[in-house]
């Protein structure tokens, strides 16, 4: 008894065919205990204290946030830690209607890149201390009208007893409309 099949450029499957077809299903565990390292450990410790730390590179004058113990542009060991303000400007922002696994959110989230002020230091519009975070105190229309670009924002910190040393110790960056 022989069985034979024809192969064109591959065998597409419709949605329900894929569900019913004989196949194997597996959920391998991929768990890690990852070391944050010196730069991030000190960064998270500072977040728990309600501060934002970065590392300064004398070679290019940049303050790296999130901090690194090496400068990507000068390849130097960075040992000078500086404290950034928890205020800054919106570099870009979007309105997300989807969760991380693409389910619709009841309430949309505004996400942005925040360019943080570091008192005593200036940066080009090209390379600057910028972090990804949630933005609050702005409407969908503020984003769609692009009013939110360059808006001033200030970190809204989680209450001290709920801070664990994580990026989420900052709940969001609140827009300070003048």
């Amino acid at each position: 008894m022989g069985l034979s099949i024809r192969i064109r450029g591959g065998t597409p499957l419709r949605d329900e065919e894929f569900r019913e077809i004989i196949k194997e299903i597996d959920s391998p565990r991929a768990r890690y205990n990852m070391a944050a390292g010196e730069a991030y450990s000190r960064f998270f410790e500072s977040l728990r204290r309600g501060e934002i730390l970065g590392t300064y590179c004398p070679g290019c004058g940049l303050v790296h946030i999130p901090p690194k113990i090496y400068c990507p542009y000068c390849f130097r060991y960075l040992t000078k830690w500086v404290r950034a303000s928890d205020e800054g400007r919106v570099v870009t922002a979007v309105v997300s209607y989807l969760s991380a696994t693409l389910e619709r959110l009841e309430k949309p989230e505004i996400i942005g890149i925040i360019r943080l002020d570091v008192p005593g230091y200036r940066f080009t519009s090209y390379r600057f201390p910028g972090i990804l975070h949630r933005i609050c105190g702005a409407s969908e229309d503020d984003v769609k009208s692009q009013r939110i670009f360059d808006a001033r924002v200030k970190a809204r910190w989680a209450p001290e007893d709920r801070r664990i040393g994580s990026i989420n110790d900052i709940e969001c960056f609140e827009v300070m409309w003048r």
Binding site: P28, Y32, M34, A35, A36, Y40, Y70
Partner: protein
Amino acid sequence: MGYSGFTRSSEHLSFREMVFQAALKAYDDTGDLDPRREVDAFISCQEDFWEGVSISDEFAPDQLGGVLKPVYTITGDGLHCMANAYMMIKSGVADVVVIESHGKPSEIASMRDILLFTLDPIYVRPLKIPNPHAIQALEARMFMEARRISREDLGIYVVQTKNNGLLSSRAPYSYRLSLEDYMVSEYVAEPLTLFDIAGYSDAAIVAILAGEDTARKIAKEPVWIDGVGWATEISTIELRSMDEDVSTKIASEMSYKQAGIDNPARSIDAVEVDERYSYKALQAIEALGLVRKDELALELRSGGLSRSGSTPVNPGGGALSEGLPLEAHGLARLLSAYEQLRGRAGRAQLGDVERIAIHSWRGLGTSSSVVAIVSR
């Protein structure tokens, strides 16, 4: 070259910081090379599920000094990176190439699942084998039966390499082992005992390759690559020859052709082979053409492969003493050869060594190997 680690765990350093440390030392070892101005390309050898990050090549450039430069990742052993750097230099597209490989297996909390995750999802993985090492035990048995290698022969190799490992400065699994200890040890997956399987270690290794003229300028004593070869036998385990290490045989023939070697036993002074499973070292020695098929046990017992033998194998110990740093293993072999050839192997230093063959495999379930010939 430069490295950091060979420790069983490294909580105080992220992998990026470990690679940065290794890179600092490597650049220092090469006349204080400035990666931002004097390096043409960078290659990283890593795998997503070892790293815990998908698209892990994203995190390769910064700590090497490769930002906004030609940087790419090969999912392979560190010696695959070396082979590609070799081709880039030979083709003229680059002159100075930095290669990096690292492993932090201590951070992997579900290692058994990750190892099973390499197996064929339709025909092998559903068996949910309680110990993935069993796959290699199937090969060990066929090799040992075909070459009439006894458990004691295997023990002689393990004892030899463990004792060599006592001479190494980076051997977290180093201790004196007697043949009696080995012979009474319990089987994990017969014929493999715990002594036959390397433990894991965290390490980052960086090497710098350059074309001949530049190499002479930037390095006090460059080590030359006379040839490099790599091969994959076949993905399907069941279709492999199982007793002969075909991928190492093809890889070594490729590297010998480039190096102009027709009698390896005579022209190779020492060998650094993959011993993450003890029997793999013996398979590799045969496939490298250093010992004839039926003389393996004999050569082993006569001490021909020992530090004082005609072709010392892993004179400063291998993975069984250093631990297995995952994809960085090949560069660990290169590191040992590099130190031997520059007379900087410390207590493990052999007498006059001109030319060393280095070998690495890609581990459980795979049939890919790389061989390189390096010389002074």
